[in-house]
Subunit: 199 residues, 2 copies
DNA sequence: GTCTATATAATGATAGAC
DNA sequence: GTCTATCATTATATAGAC
């Protein structure tokens, strides 16, 4: 196997394990086992655990950018794009129930560890924040686009944390519906494109 | 020093360290050092790390109950009591900025570790949930009191997580004001006791 | 590029002197 | 009730054979 391919595979497995069990709780041996490598060979690809974390974050940044680009292409309106964001709570609910939000839980853990990569993880939040703000600006809310972006990001984080704790499907569906209603209320004109409640 | 007093002190220090750095990242040596005990003597008081976690959670449950009781006594109306809850985000903002919400971050970590004490930690959320639901019921929202309680709990979690990441004081103040506005909107009659916006 | 063997430090945990 | 000394295990990390 080529070095770059093995590196990619290690980052792939580490990404999953860091998400499922946390950064601290995941050991080199755990990653090596799941990749099918000896611990010794492992160090040929990554010198330190922090290097793997950097690779995992870089991978997540890249994947997140790709996802946001895909939403940008797939949806025909800013409101519909924001709904794509809201609906990852439903789409990923099984994983969220077990392990929480990948971004929020990583940022929280790295904050507690006061880890050097803390700010790199926060960049993941920033990607969503800026993308959402652009959508709100396109909806005519230039003045408070960033505040609205943070608000919806805040809600997604709160829903994820409580869903991990209480594992209540009704709760997540209710809160997602509430987020959609809130979105409609933010831009009544755009909402007409999708529901004719006031037509 | 008496055994019970030392035990109490260990739980006290462990509570702080688990909050500041996380459960996994805190070692016996860390706790022993901060208490001023040798590692050996440590095991006279607690046999395993999980036992300390149990003691820490029991301590937090007790402290939370005391805080909720104090709010119950201090405030003259259900709406004012709910505002007491909302305002811990402001009162504890320095700690939240550094280490997140003590309840949310512990539940997230124990969920990832699939730890035996996971459900005990969730009880901390349940204390807030049930207390808030009682306040909403007292406001005349018996039918959806639990949903409203989860909603405000969800918001506090989301605000805490994003505040830890972005460390933006304006954000937390804006969201707290928004939570208060939401509260007013839930029970217009009760709100008249505190603001005369519609008088 | 992968392996085995190993170094070193820290972890959770115990035994026994005082 | 506290200490020192120690154990077994695991962790990160390295050396060197193949």
């Amino acid at each position: 196997m080529s070095a770059s391919e093995t590196r990619r595979q290690i980052a792939d497995v580490a990404d999953r394990l860091f998400y499922e069990h946390g950064f601290e709780a995941t050991s080199f041996a755990d990653i090596a086992r799941d990749v099918g490598l000896s611990r010794g060979n492992f160090y040929y690809h990554f010198k330190t655990k922090d290097e793997i974390l950097d690779a995992v974050i870089a991978r997540r940044v890249s994947n997140t950018r790709a996802m946001l680009d895909a939403w940008e292409q797939a949806a025909s309106s800013p409101a519909e794009r924001i709904r794509s964001f809201i609906h990852i709570l439903i789409a990923n609910r099984t994983k969220i129930m077990a392990h929480g939000c990948p971004v929020g839980t990583l940022c929280n853990e790295l904050a507690k560890l006061d880890h050097a990569a803390k700010n790199d993880a926060i960049l993941l939040f920033t990607l969503f924040r800026d993308w959402l703000a652009r959508q709100f600006a396109a909806l005519g809310r230039e003045a408070d686009a960033d505040g609205l972006a943070l608000h919806i990001l805040m809600r997604s984080q709160g829903v994820a944390t409580l869903f991990t704790a209480f594992r209540d499907e009704d709760f997540i569906r209710r809160e997602v519906a509430d987020m959609e209603a809130w979105l409609q209320a933010q831009c009544p004109a755009a909402s007409l494109l999708h529901s004719r409640q006031s037509a």
